[in-house]
């Protein structure tokens, strides 16, 4: 039991041994439940698959975010990860997979090929999966850092909690060091220059 002061009204935290109740809105509760129970369908087509495996493996551990269970059937999944290049030949299959998923469903474009075609400006590649299916989160990068993908996942969970379906992009984080002096300062574990 403790008091949390946040400059506003105090909030009393109920310990597990105490009784209590909370009020919320049904849609908020449902969104909260959806957000932490994402079943993924990995549609892995190319080199980004290795990055996806790295993200699911212990170092980056996607399982921390309530989005662990991979389901290899679209009927049981609600988050479609499009991981890798989608060729024109695969586009019908991708759309069929998407259409077979039950609502509510979300799509995350993993890597720059899935987001916009990447450097493939040619007759083979679909220039972004949003040409074929609606997409919720774009994670650019070739390959995207696992941190960026986790950002994308959290961004998607955020959108689910808000009930927002506009497309979103994982933006690059700012470089902590803009100048050589700052880099040296960082290396010396000092505070970066103002």
């Amino acid at each position: 039991m403790g008091e949390m002061k946040a400059g506003g009204p105090s909030t009393r935290v109920v310990e597990g041994s105490e009784h209590g109740f909370a009020t919320t809105r049904v849609d908020a509760l449902l969104n909260w439940a959806k957000k932490y129970s994402l079943f993924q369908y990995p549609f892995v087509t190319a080199c980004c698959g290795m990055e996806y495996m790295a993200m699911a493996s212990p170092r980056f551990d996607m399982a921390r975010f309530g989005a662990e269970v991979p389901r290899f059937s679209p009927r049981q999944a609600d988050l479609l990860w499009v991981v890798g290049t989608i060729s024109q030949r695969q586009a019908p299959a991708l759309r069929r997979i998407y259409e077979q998923m039950a609502d509510p469903k979300w799509v995350l474009a993993f890597g720059t090929c899935a987001s916009c075609g990447g450097f493939y400006d040619n007759y083979t590649t679909v220039a972004g999966i949003d040409k074929v299916i609606p997409c919720d989160v774009y994670v650019p990068g070739c390959p995207p850092r696992p941190e960026a993908v986790l950002d994308g996942l959290m961004l998607l969970q955020d959108k689910i909690a808000r009930g927002d379906r506009t497309p979103a992009i994982v933006k690059p984080r700012e470089d902590p060091a803009q100048t050589t002096e700052q880099l040296i300062a960082l290396q010396r574990k000092e505070r970066s220059l103002p």
């Binding site: 946040a6 024109q88 916009c116 074929v132 950002d151 955020d158 909690a161 992009i169 994982v170 700012e174």
Partner: protein, 217 residues
Amino acid sequence: MSKKVLELLTAQFPGAVLETHSQFGDDTAVLDPAVWRDAALFLRNDPRTLMNMFVDLTAVDYLWRGDVPRFEVVCHLRSLERNHRVRIKARVGDEEGNGAEIDSIVPVWKGANWFERECYDLLGIVFKGHPDLRRILMYPEFEGHPLRKDYPANRIQPLIPFRDVPNTGKLPPFGPDEGMSFGRQSHDFARSGPGASIDGDEAVSNGKRAGALEERS
């Protein structure tokens, strides 16, 4: 060194070996397409050459050179016993790319099957006598042959109609202060007044991180 193979070929098919060269140790014979399969059989069966390993088959489009036999079918062969290799070529096709036909060498080396299918798929060279000549990389609905130099490289032929919604050609903005914020924020409903954000840091709860972003934008 397999210049001897070239000499044997020239002796076996007089007049059908158009030119030979041995640049960079790659012994090459340019053959008349009429003797293509016979030459392949000879190279495989003759005890002096014994080309028992089919390495590669492809074609080159010499559109930019303006040659009248526009394509050059290239085949690499190797002998595992004699330890030598040779490259044979044949020139086919007119300026429009029509009439690019050559005998298939699948009866000689079974492994040539998919190579010839790929060559037909991407360059449109018809291999006469091929057991199963259909596209191998592109889909059957694809029109044209994409590796020909007169095919525009970015001309797509979608199998399914694209979605008819605005802005599929454009992604949301990438600016540091545009687009949606990151998910690292408190999921409070928007309130006003004091204590609007739980962690008390407006910049963080908006998904923006204080500091360099605002300075740069």
